[in-house]
Amino acid sequence: MPNGAGIEVEGLVREFKNGPRAVDGIDLRVAPGEIYGFLGPNGAGKSTTVLMLTTLLPPTAGTARVGGFDIAGEGPSVRGAIGAALQEAALDPLLSGAEHMRLQTALHGLPKSERKARGEELLARVGLAQAAERKVGGYSGGMKRRLDLALALVHNPQILFLDEPTTGLDIQSRTALWDEVARLAAEDGVTVFLTTQYLEEADALADRVGIIDHGHIVAEGTPAELKAEIGRPTVEAVPREDADRERVATVLARFGERAEASRRKGASARLEGGESQLAEVVRALDAEGIAIEQLQLHAPSLDDVFLAKTGRSLEGAE
């Protein structure tokens, strides 16, 4: 069951002294209980947006309401409605997980009688019960992120902000965190605003995705809608001999514009005629006498959406 109000943003701007507009007039709406993926490369304005929405940075212009409260005029009420795990797990390496929970539950004003139980419940929920008494300095990156998430939940927030929660984590830790975030939204009705630079994260978790680049939202919709906008699949061919890479690229170029290949040895093109052209591609490569080691057809991805909207690939974009 979704909790309360979501997030409403209109014309939000943040301009730094002597710098560019980190966020340049964005509009967005996140419905209660929704997981909203905010996708973009480093420096796109994701974290600045989160800092503004969590009241830690005043906006230069524009308005936003979070949980029904104005971020500029009702900061304390906003903070009471939200939980946040910001970029880099902000933890004290000298304190244990349990000590972090004690501090956080006390500062959020939980009654003394409930603090210990709430801390233990959340640590167990994120799989840290066994490590509760260990100092955080000895935790792995995944454990720190899970503790960060648990700390953000102590006061049962309606809305959760997660700023690149899985950056630097191994795939196992990443999946565990995804599961917990999905569960929070599905079972507890928590609205989740998640920034990420990982396409698969937005794809796997988000109900809707906003793509931000240079402070502007360049695309917004469900992952399926965004990919459908692009429509065209890509074909990638890897020649058996490295020397044939350029020849492969030339052949593929007949079927559509070049695309970023996922493998260094490969070449890729966006098929103008869609999947049905695959047989023609195979025949063309065969006619050129190029031995192919691997041939793959990729459905459109969010990276393709980013490429189409910005002219750059999200992977490695700065």
């Binding site: 903070r79 939200i82 902000a90 004290d92 000298l94 501090l103």
Partner: protein, 255 residues
């Protein structure tokens, strides 16, 4: 508010006690200098008008001041780390009040000040220093030492909040150290013959803090010296807290 101060204080004390690198140098370094100075400058007690025949007793006031200088670094470095790691943002997202944060953070400096004061006094007395005011004087020495330690700690907090950098905090240490050297650290004010040095040392509040300790160690109960010492320590505390509170307000721009 009191509960918030208590929780932040608890963390601050836990952090301090879990960092031997903060505690050990602040105990060893001042005591090492005390040993060297009291051994090498004993002949200074032969100067006419020197207040005691034990240079160790005279010099025992100095570690309390040196220990306070470590408090600048320790309190400031801890705060700078909280800023650098984002922990301050975590605290800012709770209903924590700024005053509670500062008060709580200084609890670590308070505990460190207590440990330092007990250690310096105990080691000094064991080594043969005199204490003219007895047990009551020992308690006042500890109280004054802790007040000074907490007061100087506020300047560490201020520097950290202004700059957000641990390196900037550490650069304060030599500045404060200079204040100690241009005071009556090595000789009583009235025995300093070099005019410019005497003038500077007379203007330096550190000289009067040292005199407050020395009055208890050497002379007996001198309320004027004590009142001046506590007044200076109190003024430093008030100024430092005000500066740190202003810097915290700028740092925490939460709406």
């Amino acid at each position: 508010m009191i509960g918030q101060v208590g929780e932040v204080a608890r963390r601050s004390v836990q952090r301090t006690m879990r960092q031997p690198a903060q505690i050990v140098p602040s105990l060893v370094f001042p005591l090492f200098l005390l040993a060297v100075n009291s051994g090498g400058l004993q002949d200074a007690t032969q100067l006419p008008g020197f207040p005691t025949d034990s240079y160790l007793t005279f010099a025992l006031a100095v570690p309390f001041m040196q220990g306070a200088l470590f408090s600048v670094m320790n309190a400031g470095t801890d705060m700078a780390r909280d800023i650098e790691t984002g922990f301050l943002n975590r605290l800012a997202l709770t209903p924590l009040r700024g005053a509670a944060l500062l008060g709580g953070l200084l609890a670590g400096a308070f505990v460190l000040g207590l440990v330092q004061a007990f250690t310096y006094l105990a080691v000094g007395l064991i080594a043969g220093a005199e204490l003219a005011t007895g047990v009551g004087g020992a308690l006042v020495i500890i109280a004054l030492s802790v007040t000074i330690t907490v007061a100087t700690g506020t300047f560490g907090l201020f520097a950290a909040l202004r700059t957000g950098s641990g390196e900037a905090v550490q650069s304060l240490f030599p500045v404060f150290f200079v204040f100690l050297f241009i005071s009556s650290m090595a000789l009583p004010l009235d025995l300093i013959q070099t005019e410019w040095f005497h003038d500077i040392a007379s203007l330096n509040p550190v000289s009067y803090l040292l005199q407050a300790f020395r009055s208890l160690l050497i002379e007996g109960w001198n309320l004027a010296d004590l009142a001046l010492g506590f007044a200076i320590a109190g003024a430093v505390l008030v100024i430092g807290m005000a500066a740190a509170a202003t810097a915290l307000k700028s740092r925490l721009v939460r709406t």
